[in-house]
């Protein structure tokens, strides 16, 4: 079983990395739209939506590249996990306040907040924990570990 773990680790890294890169693309292209989607959550103060809309997609992109190429694997999986927890808190608070809004996740056009989104993020979070806990990574850049 232990022999399979490193391969599972690579597969999960590719899946999570791919999802993060895909999610970042539309947001990097159109940060104004992403900023308005963040505003719809009614939780960010002082007009900081724009700053988040500018920086967050690049963080997602760099995490995605890092996980796929094997650079700073543990740090990237840890940040990805923290982000997914924050995303789920935001989605959950929007749902509990009765907001029927687009999640602004960047994966699917028009995807709304809901239990499906929470579950999707939860699965990715489990993947991040698996990658973070894996000791013997394969396919990584030795210099950047």
């Amino acid at each position: 079983m232990n022999k399979i773990y490193p391969y599972m680790d690579v597969l999960i890294r590719f899946i999570i990395g791919g999802v993060f890169i895909w999610a970042s693309y539309d947001k990097i292209i159109d940060p104004s739209k992403f900023s308005r989607e963040i505003s719809n959550y009614h939780i960010v103060p002082f007009g900081l939506e724009n700053s988040i809309a500018i920086i967050l997609p690049w963080l997602e992109l760099i995490i995605g590249i890092g996980l796929i190429t094997g650079i700073y694997i543990n740090a990237n999986s840890l940040i990805a996990g923290v982000l997914l927890i924050v995303f789920n808190i935001l989605v959950f608070q929007a749902m509990s306040r009765g907001f029927n809004i687009e999640c602004g996740c960047g994966l699917k056009e028009g995807q709304m907040v809901g239990y499906g989104k929470l579950f999707e993020n939860f699965l990715l979070l489990v993947g991040c924990i698996f990658v973070f806990k894996t000791k013997n990574h394969i396919m990584y850049v030795k210099k950047f570990q």
Binding site: I28, P31, S32, K33, S35, R36, E37, S39, N40, H42, F46, G47, L48, E49, N50, S51, A53, I54, I55, P57, W58, L59, L61, I62, I63, G66, Y72, N74, A75, N76, L78, I79, F99, N100, I101, E102
Partner: protein, 164 residues
């Protein structure tokens, strides 16, 4: 260096790289996004509206002004899905899930510089603001955003229309 220290520096470098890359990329845009979001100004008088219409704008309006513009036969655009529009909407408002068709309908009905009002379900929906920015990019210059939307319109007891 301990493992946790190493992890801390790696996290720090990833975050700093993201901030650096994003700010550089934003500055290279033809229209960089300001770091702080400017709120849509909400006006309540028609005089202010005339001033606002001198240059391309998206101006927020309150229920009082929305009612006044409705009486003056200004066109309303429903940014909600057609499904909700059919259940009830502001009389004579237009709606289409397809943005291109909606923009063509608008172009046929009014000039690019004429004012029109965009609304969605309520203050929390956000789709009216999204549509306003898309229509502004399309070329319409005088867009009025009724943030209170359908909910406030109904709460005030103003007329409605159904298309079943």
């Amino acid at each position: 260096m301990s493992r946790s220290q190493n992890l801390f520096y790696q996290i720090l470098s990833i975050i700093l790289a993201s901030i650096f890359a994003s700010l550089i990329f934003n500055q290279l845009r033809s229209k960089p996004l300001p770091l702080l979001k400017e709120r849509v100004e909400i006006i309540s008088e028609l005089e202010n509206l005339n001033i606002a219409s001198l240059e391309p704008s998206i101006t927020g309006i309150n229920i009082k002004l929305a009612r006044k513009l409705f009486k003056e036969k200004v066109l309303f655009v429903d940014a909600r899905a057609e499904e909700y529009y059919r259940e009830g909407h502001i009389p004579n408002a237009i709606c289409n899930d397809d943005f291109d068709i909606l923009a063509e309908q608008l172009e046929m009905a009014i000039g690019m510089d004429d004012p029109f009002v965009v609304y969605c379900s309520d203050d929390d929906c956000g789709s009216s603001e999204d549509l306003s920015y898309e229509l502004q990019s399309y070329g319409f210059t005088n867009i009025l955003l009724f943030k209170g939307g359908w909910e406030e319109w109904m709460d005030t007891g103003l007329p409605m229309e159904e298309n079943e």
